[in-house]
């Protein structure tokens, strides 16, 4: 009986994640800054698991950064998202896989708004029809792409070439996980583990042999703050919040940071460069900065994918110290080669290089 009670209590923190047939929507930031991550996700789903994942070239931005930058009205973003749902319906899909935490938050906010204010749903249907002649259904299942990697984390562990273990010491790697505010702080029921026990990244780290670090500012915002980064005059806000997180995690000696949201990934990577330039500060050990990885990049590394096909070379903080710790084999000469093997120029002044 006690077990039943426990299961009932924890059921609030579980999330149903579809198994197959996904309508895939890219992220403005992930595809601009970490296109290798999206490439890996599609490769993993289609070629390794044999799943059906469809991408419609007519899908556009959700306008989420404009909405949270307060230039795009709510009625407008609701109708843009409704158009995405219409493309999904027309393509014959009911499960949506979203590559961006800002978009994911937008989708959850809009679907919840339609539940609380059914007249808004009707108004959106009218707007969309008037603007485009399209009609839509609300998705049956909505997953962030990290939810899907989380769902298949044990399959990845079974196929893993590497574990998140320090090759020299045999100890699990210390990993900071950063969920991203809009994943589940707004509508906890849409996230794995809700807002209080988010386990979408922690579950991956555990399954792949690493150790999750708990530190005081674990749930603090990365500092994006939309307008607080978009406008140059405000960027002190963004940088200061990132510094607060790094100061808080530093004593726990993280080997790397794993992120859920493409924006957080970009800021935690790039602000480390800025902090080093401005004040000479580094937050890793041995005078190095801390590599920041997306969950797709980490899954790819664990599976033995070439780090340079995942795009790790296009971060500001380079990941070789981490690759060496795990014992991942890599070819330094392949790092800046084109798809067909031509040598590209080698960028200078990267961090940890």
């Amino acid at each position: 009986m006690q077990q039943d009670g426990k299961k009932r209590i924890w059921s609030d923190y579980q999330k149903e994640i579809a198994d197959d047939h996904f309508f895939y929507v890219r992220s403005c930031i992930r595809q601009s800054f970490f296109p290798g991550s999206e490439q890996f996700f599609l490769h993993f789903m289609r070629d390794i698991l044999g799943k059906d994942v469809y991408e419609n070239p007519s899908h556009t931005t959700c306008t989420g950064i404009g909405y949270h930058g307060d230039v795009v009205p709510l009625a407008t973003i609701m109708t843009v998202v409704a158009r995405h749902f219409a493309l999904m319906k027309e393509s014959g899909y009911k499960n949506i896989a979203i590559s961006c935490v800002t978009s994911f938050g937008i989708y959850t906010e809009i679907i919840e708004t339609w539940k609380h204010f059914p007249e808004e749903l009707e108004k959106t249907r009218e707007y969309l029809y008037k603007a485009t002649g399209r009609e839509f259904d609300v998705p049956e299942n909505m997953a962030h792409t990290s939810d899907i990697i989380y769902k298949f984390r044990n399959e990845i562990a079974e196929k893993a070439k590497y574990k998140l273990i320090n090759k020299e010491t045999g100890e699990p790697l210390n990993v900071v996980e950063h969920i991203g505010c809009h994943y589940s702080k707004m509508f906890p029921k849409y996230g794995v583990g809700g807002a209080e026990f988010p386990n979408v990244l922690g579950g991956m780290i555990d399954s792949w042999g690493g150790k999750v670090i708990d530190y005081p500012e674990r749930r603090h915002c990365c500092g994006f703050g939309f307008r607080q980064y978009l406008v140059q005059a405000n960027r002190g806000y963004s940088l200061s919040n990132t510094v607060k997180k790094f100061e808080s995690m530093k004593p726990f000696k993280p080997d790397f940071v794993l992120t859920n949201c493409p924006g957080c990934n970009m800021f935690m990577d790039k602000w480390q460069y800025t902090m080093k330039e401005m004040e000479g500060t580094v937050y890793g050990e041995n005078g190095e900065s801390i590599p920041i990885l997306t969950y797709e990049e980490l899954a790819g590394l664990v599976l033995g994918i070439n780090p340079w096909d995942l795009g790790l070379q296009f971060h500001m903080v380079q990941s070789e110290p981490l690759l060496k710790k795990i014992g991942i084999e890599y070819d330094p000469d392949n790092k800046f080669k084109t798809k067909d093997g031509r040598q590209m120029p080698v960028p200078q002044n990267l961090i940890n290089a």
Binding site: I65, H220, C221, K339
Partner: protein, 237 residues
């Protein structure tokens, strides 16, 4: 004077974001903006629930409503189920509709956001795309960013796509008919009128400030002023 509280009530985010605040201050305790700026979301919520019209007008013209980063951490923690950030979003929308946003340094920045992210949506079909993030305006992106932009075709080809070309893949060219639909959605839902309001009020403010303004682009004195101006008295003392 118009009844601002009534106008706010027409925004469902205001209705959803504010039930009855008991002034506990948990939102302020968790707020990243409150730590950085001279900012207290508890006071904002308390002020708007008082319904004091003159005070709400001051708020709509103030720097204060522009300090929030919309991380929404306050939503998780409010014991009464309020969302101060949603209240702030409703205030920001109203401030722009009424033209009050140009009264504050931080408010005037809405013009810069409209001319960058806002127009990227129509131009490219993306809020953000690599080619719209110039190294000159984003020094924090570091040398790797200029490298990626200088070698875009090769970088994106290795990462599975053909940048700025039609078809599926990362940073594909968004088809013209999709961009036309986006524009039409903005027209039908009031998004275009909202953009026009930001433009109209900003143009008027530029004239008042004696700054050169142009109807397109970011190469004008008013854009540079609002994008970079920081009188540096926004912070916690």
């Amino acid at each position: 004077m118009q009844n601002y509280h009534e106008m706010l009530m027409q925004d469902i985010r205001f209705e959803e974001g504010l039930n009855a605040c008991m002034n506990c201050g948990v939102c302020t305790a968790i707020c990243p903006a409150a730590e950085f700026y001279d900012y207290d979301p508890r006071k904002i919520v308390d002020l708007v629930q008082s319904g004091d019209n003159a005070e709400i007008e001051k708020l709509l013209k103030s720097e204060t409503i522009w300090y929030c980063g919309e991380c929404m951490s306050c939503k998780t923690r409010c014991p009464r189920g309020n969302t101060p950030a949603l209240v702030v979003m409703a205030l920001r929308t109203l401030s722009q509709k009424l033209g009050f946003f140009t009264e504050s340094e931080k408010g005037r920045q809405q013009f810069a956001i409209k001319r960058t992210v806002g127009e990227n949506i129509f131009k490219y079909g993306y809020c953000v795309a690599s080619y719209a993030v110039s190294p000159e305006m984003h020094a924090e992106q570091g040398p790797i960013w200029k490298y990626i932009l200088d070698n875009s075709t090769d970088v994106f080809e290795r990462m599975g796509g053909h940048i700025d070309e039609l078809g599926a893949g990362p940073l594909r060219k968004i088809p013209e008919d999709a961009k036309t639909e986006l524009k039409k959605i903005f027209e039908v839902t009031g998004g275009m009128d909202f953009y026009n309001d930001i433009e109209r009020h900003s143009k008027k403010k530029a004239a008042e400030m004696g700054l050169q303004f142009s109807d397109k682009g970011i190469d004008n004195e008013y854009f540079i002023e609002v994008f970079t101006a920081n009188k540096k008295d926004h912070h916690n003392k």
